[in-house]
Symmetry: C2
């Protein structure tokens, strides 16, 4: 989105909880609120605020899905922009940590 220096780390993604959310969703494709909460072991309010931040950046999408049961369940996944930003974030990380990877 905005032009960044090759060493500037995306503040939306470079945060302890959000890096994990993004990596988890890249690996798994999608997850429910509860799955994320279990994985991260954080409070509802905290998860909610990170989801909100990710959505405000346009990185996360929320979709209602009809599963086998009648109940609609909401799943979260990365948007295309979120996936691209995550890729760029990884590239920046590699540049910064070049010595180590």
């Amino acid at each position: 989105m905005d032009a960044m220096s090759p060493f500037e780390l995306d503040a939306t993604l470079h945060q302890p909880i959000r890096t994990r959310i993004a990596a988890f969703l890249i690996a798994r494709g999608e997850a429910t609120f509860t799955e994320l909460k279990k994985e991260l072991a954080i409070t509802d309010g905290n998860l909610e605020s990170h989801i909100k931040k990710l959505r405000a950046s346009g990185y996360l999408s929320k979709e209602k899905k009809m599963g086998a049961s009648k109940r609609a369940q909401t799943v979260y996944s990365l948007t295309r922009d979120g996936q691209e930003s995550f890729e760029n974030y990884l590239e920046t990380l590699k540049r910064i940590l070049a010595v180590k990877f």
Copy 2:
């Protein structure tokens, strides 16, 4: 220091400015306030607060050095604990981003 889950990212190091400070110091050994400021392109106050945070965690040392000139110059470098925490941080990152590295 404190026991962390294998996926918890050290909050002192997993922050846009501080990750870069640590990586820069790992690569270069030491740096002055001005060198860091130039590298990061941030304000004095902002750099100061990140240095303070790193020092509060015991990761950064500040040393007065007598160089060629008469003037004593202060150099910053990672403490042993800082180096170890950075190594651990990298391991955690690799675990979380396994898919990608």
